[in-house]
Symmetry: D3
Subunit: 326 residues, 6 copies
């Protein structure tokens, strides 16, 4: 268990590289590819007996592919007698299916936890789950990091504070929005979607809280199609907001998301690199902050038995970032 080995699947090798760079260790050697019949195959090239191994693999697009790839990599490490296997999942997909809010639906976020465990993962490291309760879906230890300090520091440096209001784009995200508001000493507003009339699709966005003449900073855990974001922005504009920034941890940006962001009235969208952003989505309005130092530091602490909880304070977060910038 003295030696640390970090492997990557095909989901986000760039992030794995940044992490191993932070850790000053070479990326573990392995082959992860598909046969012509689409069967994923994995071959670990390094000896991993009794080693402390980590696999970096966000559950981003192609989601099923990346999930199955991760499970197979875990199985390969387990059967290769790895000493400990930590699944590093910067973006935990399926987080939104975390409860039965209608009859006869799955709880896929729990299913994924069970799949990871039965495959042989010994621990999980992740960032900004859709709901913190997903931690409880696991019985193996899980460390959930947050990009909130990273994002708040970025906006602190912009010195927008005086007029700033943090806006939860949905009731569901209001708790995390409150945390960001507290970090920025800004008030909070919340967007509530409500269906009305007898047409099922008619939906109204209520803005709860004061936003008139303010600079709004919307926050969400992920931006998917950016459809909601565009709706929120126009609701805020109608309510007299003078400038709008948006931020989130996970930039899924599926479908027309980048175009929508480009053409709507948001000034800047600040995200992290928990998932890869393809070249065509790298538009000027989108700023990407790297979470590699945070993840790298957490891996280092897990490997050496130091407190990961200590990372949840502004000061250490700041120094983690500083270290990496040099």
């Amino acid at each position: 268990m003295d030696e640390l080995k970090v492997f990557t699947g095909n989901a986000h090798p760039a992030l794995a590289n940044e992490i191993t760079q932070y850790l000053d260790t070479p990326l573990g050697q392995c082959e992860v590819f598909q046969f012509s019949n689409e069967n994923i195959f994995v071959r670990i090239l390094d000896n991993v007996r009794e080693r402390d191994t980590f696999i970096v693999q966000p559950l981003c697009s192609p989601v099923s592919q990346n999930l199955v790839e991760l499970l197979i990599m875990i199985d390969a490490l387990k059967r290769a007698s790895a000493g400990r296997i930590t699944a590093v999942i910067p973006y935990y997909g399926y987080g939104r299916t975390d409860k039965k809010d209608q009859p006869r639906v799955p709880i896929t976020a729990r299913l994924v936890a069970d799949l990871l465990t039965v495959a042989g993962a010994n621990r999980v490291l992740t960032i900004d789950l859709h709901a913190a309760q997903i931690q409880g879906f696991f019985n193996i230890p899980i460390d959930e990091l947050t990009a909130l300090y990273l994002l708040s520091r970025y906006f602190e440096e912009k010195s927008l504070n005086k007029d700033l209001v943090v806006v939860a784009t949905d009731i569901g995200i209001s708790k995390r929005a409150r945390d960001l508001a507290a970090l920025l000493s800004a008030p909070l507003a919340i967007i509530e979607k409500r269906r009305f009339g007898n047409r099922d699709q008619a939906e109204m966005l209520n803005v709860i809280g004061e936003v008139d003449k303010k600079i709004a900073l919307t926050v969400d855990d992920e931006i998917d199609t950016a459809g909601s974001l565009v709706g929120v922005i126009s609701a805020l504009e109608e309510r007299g907001v003078k400038e709008i920034y948006a931020c989130c941890t996970h930039p899924i940006l599926s479908g027309q998301a980048a175009q929508r962001i480009a053409s709507c009235n948001v000034k800047e969208v600040v995200v992290t690199n928990t998932v890869p952003i393809t070249e065509d989505k790298k538009i000027s309005k989108i700023t990407v902050l790297s979470i590699a130092p945070l993840v790298g530091e957490a891996i280092h602490r897990i490997h050496t038995g130091q407190s990961v909880g200590a990372l949840f304070t502004q000061d250490i977060n700041r120094s983690v970032q500083a270290t990496f910038e040099i």
Copy 2:
């Protein structure tokens, strides 16, 4: 599995009796008592081989006692070859410890799920969990009912709608408050607690949303010491609210709760009987609605293989209540 048997521990026999009355079946015979050394002992007196058994036991005060009693009853039924064991837990205690929001704390809501499962429960029936995600802490089927229709119907009949605003007493409850607001076609406001200054204890209650000159109906999943409720009420009064009602599913009412409610400026507090309310807490301001018909109907549907999901519509809920009132 043709025969249905409902048992009760010592947590809330009155509710169990109401439920068996709804089901028109006698309560199962068993002894559940403590020896002088405080060891809980259970003896099932009815033959339960291959029977479909249910144990009614909310995790209310004395909490540890009631939890251990429930686990032992499950073990007794399992070893007595019961065909199926459903733990009916109208109030799922420990629901607030559902995530690690600080380092090195337990996730007790998950632990309780595992304890129930390892003891031998085959399914769970519960009402208004603190967070719906707790469903995912179980891998055995769980049916979560809601008292929201019961509560909304009660207020509908009061015809307060025009000036009504539903108020979430905390960010964490805002989703359920929104659901109640939607049922009552009322707008939503949210109370945000925030610590400020460098004194750790100083806390400010922000009211997000418009409440001036309105009739406020606060909603929470449970009322414990009523301390927060009192704070919320005074914050609402400062913001010009003209009348205040409160409602919740689980009336824990620990410590000085009843006195606080009696002396503060709330007009009525509407609760259900998921947990027992001792005589000294039955003050005139507190209205108790019975969830026995809802639970009884759910047990009936589970036993006969009918859809429980169908209970999540106003109409069936209404008829369930109607049936029982006759």
Copy 3:
């Protein structure tokens, strides 16, 4: 458990339809789709409490997608209190990764068995596994059917017997080829691939057994790219074979498979519909036999507690087919 419900994912609805037609029961109602972020979502529309449920889903292309879809459907049925869940997997993908034949590789066929079990499957029904030992990867009951009787009957009717030789296209398939040869009272030949020289890629195909002036019928469990098949055919031609037929259970036909078959010297390729064959692959040389009656009959027997083992005799197989043709 009196009522039977057959559901289908998106892998092969046509087969599920044929099966329910055989069973004379409507297909179970459910929605299985993807959100914009690629998260698969499932909603079972029929009440399935205590019902005997079956999900038809071969692990064909898109493999990862279909596997994850199947797992989520199982989870949905489990949480919806289905009485029993049988995963009907006509083609069990990942069958070729059934052992560690080199260091640090996974045993994905076992992993998939564990994933199905942890998701909540109670039994599995499948056809012609790559290795029969994969049965032992499960601890839940598994019924493995075979298409061999279907295929042998087809060739029996062609009356090629006198000059026929059955050819295993690989050492690994020789056991099943022997079974087909025995059913057709034909001799057996086996193709052995061997690498030689010090160039890693140089490969020689040895034909073991007598094939000169014979009609060869090659057999394999699946045809993937048809690359091996083409090689085998040319090796057989060099050895004086006068006519070549091919058969397999699972027509994967990835990449250029259909074109290769069209242009090579095989007279006919007989397959079953365990996996869907897209229109562009339906070339005249490929004959597709339906396994729906066989699967349907097995589901019927599982549901009614009759012997499935009895299906492993020519006579019942014949009558199963007959029943359906009418």
Copy 4:
């Protein structure tokens, strides 16, 4: 795993302190308290990643509370990535419910073993189980120590040997009584309770063996209400015993136990501190021997991989005690 951390719940902090004093290590920092709704909350304050952790918590009064507290502490340590968690349970409550000796009763001693295991305990250290077979209720390693050497040494030093007879207060304890008799080279007598007549409650105590004109030393694993002890003493007196001592490992002393002991004809009752004895029960007739050195030495040996079995010899036991007295 190099570092040892001993934590205590609220059951018996005094014992935990004595143990850490023996080990010359500070007690681990943690908070274990109840919210107003009686929910127990635990916060481990020391970093425990990869540490070798021990929790000292006898299952004494309040029993349910202490059990649930222990389970939650284990969960907290598990989720805090402790390297190994040993539950140190000097008194294993519920030991008397270790079999079904009547229909439809639980086997709570097994249930507790399962609860500890599912919560995440990796091993258990305990003292004088009600039945040694309870070891087999666990599949995690369990070390059972005995206070018998401690008790026998105490009586050896009194030099009562010549006239001494060891008396099992019940058939069930006769094996352990025999062990004590052997250590003291004294003969054995056994008390048999028998119901007679057709009145269910009439009970007669038979003294099997010779006790006339002897000094009797009664032995039991625990003294609860002291009701049986009082009965045994009067039965022995009737049979001509001249002086009576009593001993046990676990002084539960519930209800009127201390008063009963004070007023009955026993000369001295020797017990250990596996459970706390409240001030009002510390009467002059009761002598308390400390098991802290024994437990401390066992923890030391578990931590350093030395044999714990070696503790089961008089000599090492003697030196363990000697070490601590200095």
Copy 5:
């Protein structure tokens, strides 16, 4: 689950036949044999899908063989989709290895429970375990019957009562001996073995209780080599006993047991047929009572969901026997 199927391994087919005769059902058809390489093979010939199956197999000589045979039969039934599998184990071997009474020994009685469970047994039916706590080694339901009523009735009919004393042949069996004594309204005496001097082997038998001029009935759970029995008998003779009977449930009778019984001073040894008694051991002093009606009745009650606990009363036991004798 409507149909009952009773199978037998090779351990005790005669008992299985008596049981099926009581149940008026044919014995299930299966082959259980050994290949030349000693691998045991099992083939169930009857269709058992969804049937309620029972396997009769005591763990008698050859013990390992019979245990492995039982495990393989369970696996065969599980994989053949049996609805429920009850292992009927009239004699549960390895019962004496039920605790660690010295360092680094196994707890084989627990191991066997786990082996049965992992193989797929759903329940266990057994008779007179060496220690009742072994019930708690299982988490599947277990019914433990007792032959005590059968034995006590036999001696009741001999009308020896007036002078009778029941003698536990060892401290460990004293509880069961007390139960027999109570059934026969006789007093109890107990034999205590004790080593003395510094020679390890020197052992003295103390008789605790009064036996002079009495008729002694010794009781044990099993008689193995009869070595202890012979020792006990001579100790009782020295103490003036006038006549000696012996009884036990399980007549293991290994080695010279039958000869020893024949030549020692015991009048009659009464046993049951939980294990087979070979012809050479059927000496006139040994009386064998059949437990087949008791086991048959228990199987009938398990199958039909009636109380098995009711069998633990003299009256029903009597009628069970009566039924069969006709």
Copy 6:
């Protein structure tokens, strides 16, 4: 975990001794014996807390005895707090029962894997499984070594290559035969058994491939009664083979095997010592190669965290053997 301890049961102590000699470590001290009632008892005499332990025990005759002994030894080590337990099973019995090839039969090879796992084995080390897929029956890490290099080297040194043909004695062994043929650069032939006519027992051996005037080397994983071998030899002779050698890994040699080999027309039978060969079977035609160095080296690598996969190359194998010969 620094210290390595190798224990042996009664199956093959000679091999265990050779292995510890290779490892230059004394054999672990333990007692493994049977009581008069055939109950196997184990007592580990060395302290094994946190040690890295290995048990050498092939599943050879007496098979059930050796299996149960192995399981009990694992349980003893687990309960004695061993750090890691590796079951070293040079011959994995029951390998031929690895699938259901007829209705209602067990998959005993999987059952054995589950028994080992539930008993507490952490890993398995074995040699030449009957089917490589048996690896997938385990979820604990398993290392499968092969004796193929050892055997091929032996025949290489005989320089028979030019006329050599490797013959698979059965379709089922054809893959391993191909591997041996490749190592020896020899062609391959395969024996196919086929039943014909309507007499069930009539069986014909077809030789597929060219063998006329060649030196045949037959290969199988085990030789049991040698009945098949004799049949194969006479079939080869009929086809004009001039000289016949045989080899296998596991020399079971049950019944008349040695006599059959002595009297048939095979020149030499080369085997390894994975199972013991009793003196009466040590005939001059049988050559035994030791696998102790291979197993010893694998244990060394497992213990020190080196690659075991590296052993699967001719060169290291060669040096392993060389080391030991000195």
